[in-house]
């Protein structure tokens, strides 16, 4: 064993035991998706409403995709661990997408749900879509932005 490897190995063991249940020192943080109490002040929400669209799949994906625009949320202040929810709902297509992000610091947060595949033949006509942004925690739950968009043929 070379001294480099011995040194590095000992360091690893030292860190592992030093941060383990024996010492009670916990260096792990809560997982990024764990939310708690508190609230956030939202000053602005930007959504490109024309981004909500029904378009055919590409590269051999023979389905129709509901393309979903990203929501950019400007957060002014945060206390504790609330989460932002961006809900895209098109009841006529049985679609309800929820993108969530726990915020701990002020700044701009981009919420971009995945596009949703609709089986071939299912889409017929136009549909009403509702885009909602909410702030949620164990102590609060309020809507900070809401808009409706028509998607489909009649667009």
């Amino acid at each position: 064993m070379d001294r480099w490897v011995t040194f590095a190995g000992l360091f690893v063991v030292f860190v592992l035991v030093g941060t383990g249940p024996l010492t009670g020192v916990d260096v792990t943080s809560a997982s990024a998706s764990t939310f708690g109490d508190g609230t956030a002040t939202v000053t602005d929400v930007t959504v490109d409403r024309s981004g909500l669209a029904l378009t055919p799949g590409r590269f051999g994906a023979n389905v129709t995709y509901l393309r979903v625009p990203a929501a950019t949320v400007s957060v002014d202040s945060v206390t504790d661990r609330p989460q932002l929810l961006y809900i895209v709902s098109v009841p006529g297509l049985d679609v309800r997408l929820v993108e969530r992000r726990v915020v701990t610091t002020p700044g701009r947060v981009r919420l971009a749900p995945d596009d949703r595949a609709i089986p071939p033949g299912r889409v017929d006509g136009s549909y009403e879509g509702v885009l909602t942004v909410r702030v949620q925690s164990f102590t609060t739950d309020r809507t900070v932005a809401r808009t409706t968009v028509t998607v489909g043929d009649g667009q």
Binding site: M1, D2, W4, V5, F7, A8, G9, F11, V12, V13, V15, L16, V17, T19, G20, P21, L22, D26, V27, T28, S29, A30, S31, A32, G57, R58, F59, G60, A61, N62, V63, Y65, R67, A112, D114, D115, R116, A117, I118, P119, P120
Partner: protein, 627 residues
């Protein structure tokens, strides 16, 4: 005394890994799988597996605690007998049980997330010290640089670490068990190909199995396919060894092959049936020693290897010939096989052998069940599989091009076409395109005064092994054809063992072996190919705003294009002698690079379902373009 201990240690290492390259390959593959490892449940079938594993670690066969799901309803792959819910693939879970104990033991002194980082660092250190021994590296500099690199990754993982609940450790152990086995598959292939074609070809074959085939995709997704593929490769390797040895050494190796094949019965009796049957047929057709003694030894080994399966079945239903899979599924509000998203297509239809409270069966009943099960499943599927061979469009969707396949994937996976065809999932298979040319050449050679003796017993060990591999691949493909194409198979996972055997086939092609005649050029081509693939794919994901199904299909089309180039060049090399080795190297590196990129992006971009085992990877994945 210490020297004696040391030499024994080295001898054991040599027996397991062959040589230092084998060890480095095995450790390297483990590190590579760790890179995209997400602790979590990707496919619904894993709920039942993980819950059954928890029960096994507490000494019970039936599920006692729903640790990884809230209800029975979300878990395909649970079977009911007299009011108790049983899992399946017990032989695979049994391998993970000691890992659960080790991890839970270590977790009493180390936080679970850091435990993973520590184990990764440990593997990294051993890898570095072993690599440093190779003659073409400066030993002390490699050790210094390597250990600092490992230390940096470890430190980064610690600084970004998120909490991992301790009750996740059984799932971690389950994932770890298939990672270890997938790395072992690479090692076995290295030794198999290395035995016939030298260590360089062997190393390339073993490495590519882990980094450029579906074996890498499923390494961290704990399904039986990885385990069966590894055992099948192991049986083929033991068979190959037996053909190059004499006397008792040969018989020992043959017994090893039967033991590995027999163990599969405990994981998946249906697949084991065909593996054992083919192994037996090819072994008897090619063996020099068909004495009563040899047959008795092999039969006994097979029986012993199947004993855990028989005992488990007996403990569950009282009938050793009735695996849990043929018991009725656990009754739930949600019918798991049809309704649930990513419901396991594994939920094999039950052949009407009801559970209930039957009296213990007589040996005659046992034999009758066995014959009944075999004829119902095997006979029907063999006939059905041969019938599928006459349906070109269906074969096209299974083997060449997926896209949205009519009649498949409706409902499951949210209508996303994420299930690839075989060639898309493993474009390296294009190397097999040279086989017809080689076969035709052989037939011609045979017409002008034979090369190949008629009696398979006089064939060379290589030819005999080829016969076993081709027979296994053919049977294991045909019996699954009636169920393909199917949703949630992702890489045609039912053909997983066949694909592992396919890599052996690819490296038996002389043109493919020519690709590694210049090592530096081959490695350079591969790395360049991975880089090109990542740029092309990430640009598509970022620039075209692809949904997950589109992204997977976009990747699949690039894989196919790479496969076409590879196939064309390999055939050209085979028919003419004017194609330079370096061109073949690039042509083989191309599908390998795109397949590696598929594995990386599957783990980092396409499918994100759990928490990354190493948080430093999460930080990296977050800066990549998202879907």
């Amino acid at each position: 005394m210490s020297a004696d201990w040391r030499s024994r240690f080295v001898a054991t290492g040599r027996w397991c890994f062959g040589d230092r390259r084998g060890l480095v390959l095995w450790l390297g593959l483990l590190c590579w799988f760790g890179l995209t490892w997400q602790v979590g449940i990707f496919i619904n079938d894993t709920y039942a597996m993980a819950n059954t594993l928890v029960a096994l670690t507490e000494g019970q066969l039936h599920v006692t605690e729903l640790r990884y799901s809230l209800t029975f309803g979300s878990q395909p792959g649970l079977y009911e007998y007299q009011g108790r819910a049983y899992g399946r693939n017990y032989g695979m879970l049994a391998l993970a049980v000691p890992l659960v104990w080790v991890l839970e033991g270590l977790a009493t002194v180390v936080a679970p997330r850091l435990l993973l980082a520590g184990l990764w660092a440990g593997v990294g250190f051993v890898f570095v010290t072993q690599v440093a021994e190779f003659a073409w590296f400066d030993r002390s500099r490699t050790r210094a640089v390597g250990s600092m690199l490992v230390l940096t990754l470890f430190a980064a993982s610690v600084l970004t670490a998120t909490a991992l609940p301790r009750d996740q450790l059984a799932l971690v152990a389950l994932q770890l068990s298939t990672m270890l086995l997938a790395a072992t598959a690479g090692l076995v292939l290295y030794r198999l190909v290395g035995r016939f074609h030298g260590r360089r070809a062997g190393l390339a074959a073993g490495l590519l199995l882990g980094v450029a085939t579906p074996v890498g995709f499923w390494a961290t997704l704990p399904k039986r396919h990885t385990v069966v593929a590894t055992l099948v490769l192991g049986a083929v390797y033991a068979f190959a060894v037996s053909r190059t040895r004499e006397g008792d050494a040969a018989l020992r190796a043959r017994a090893g092959a039967y033991a590995l094949a027999g163990y599969i019965t405990w994981i998946h009796a249906y697949e084991a049936l065909f593996v054992v049957a083919v192994l037996g047929a090819v072994d008897l057709a090619t063996a020099r020693d068909r004495s009563v003694r040899a047959l008795a030894v092999l039969g006994l080994v097979l029986l012993v290897a199947s004993t855990p399966m028989l005992a488990t079945n007996y403990a569950i239903s009282g009938n050793p010939a009735q695996p849990p899979r043929v018991l009725p599924g656990v009754d739930t509000e949600v019918s798991p096989a049809t309704d649930g998203p990513t419901a396991g297509p594994d939920a094999t239809p039950t052949p009407g052998s009801g559970g209930g409270s039957d009296p213990p069966p007589s040996p005659l009943d046992v034999v009758r069940t066995l014959v009944g099960t075999v004829s119902t499943f095997a006979g029907r599927n063999l006939a059905g599989g041969l019938a599928v061979l006459t349906q070109p469009e269906r074969l096209w969707h299974i083997f060449v091009r997926s896209g949205t396949i009519p009649g498949v994937s409706s409902g499951a996976n949210d209508y996303e076409p994420v299930d690839l065809a075989a060639l898309e999932a493993m474009p390296l298979l294009a190397g097999l395109a040279a086989l017809p040319v080689l076969a035709a050449r052989r037939v011609r050679a045979r017409v002008d005064e034979t090369l190949l003796p008629l009696d398979p017993r006089d064939w060379s060990p290589t030819r005999q092994t080829d016969l076993l591999v081709v027979s296994l691949a053919a049977i294991l493909t045909v019996v699954y054809l009636p169920r393909l194409p199917i949703h949630s198979s992702l890489t045609v996972r039912y053909l997983h063992p066949v694909m592992a055997l396919g890599v052996y086939g690819v490296w038996r092609v002389p043109a493919v072996r020519a690709a590694v005649s210049d090592t530096r050029w081959a490695v350079g081509s591969y790395l360049a190919s991975v880089a090109v693939a990542l740029v092309v794919l990430l640009a598509g994901i970022g620039g075209l705003g692809l949904a997950v199904g589109e992204a997977v299909q976009y990747n699949a089309l690039w894989n196919l294009a790479a496969a076409v180039v590879c196939g064309a060049v390999v055939v050209a090399y085979t028919v003419s002698n004017r194609v330079p080795d370096r061109t073949v190297a690039v042509a083989v590196a191309l599908p390998a690079g795109f397949a590696s990129a598929y594995l990386l992006l599957s783990g980092l971009v396409y499918f994100r379902y759990g928490s990354y085992a190493f948080d430093v990877v999460r930080v990296l994945a977050d800066v990549l373009p998202a879907l």
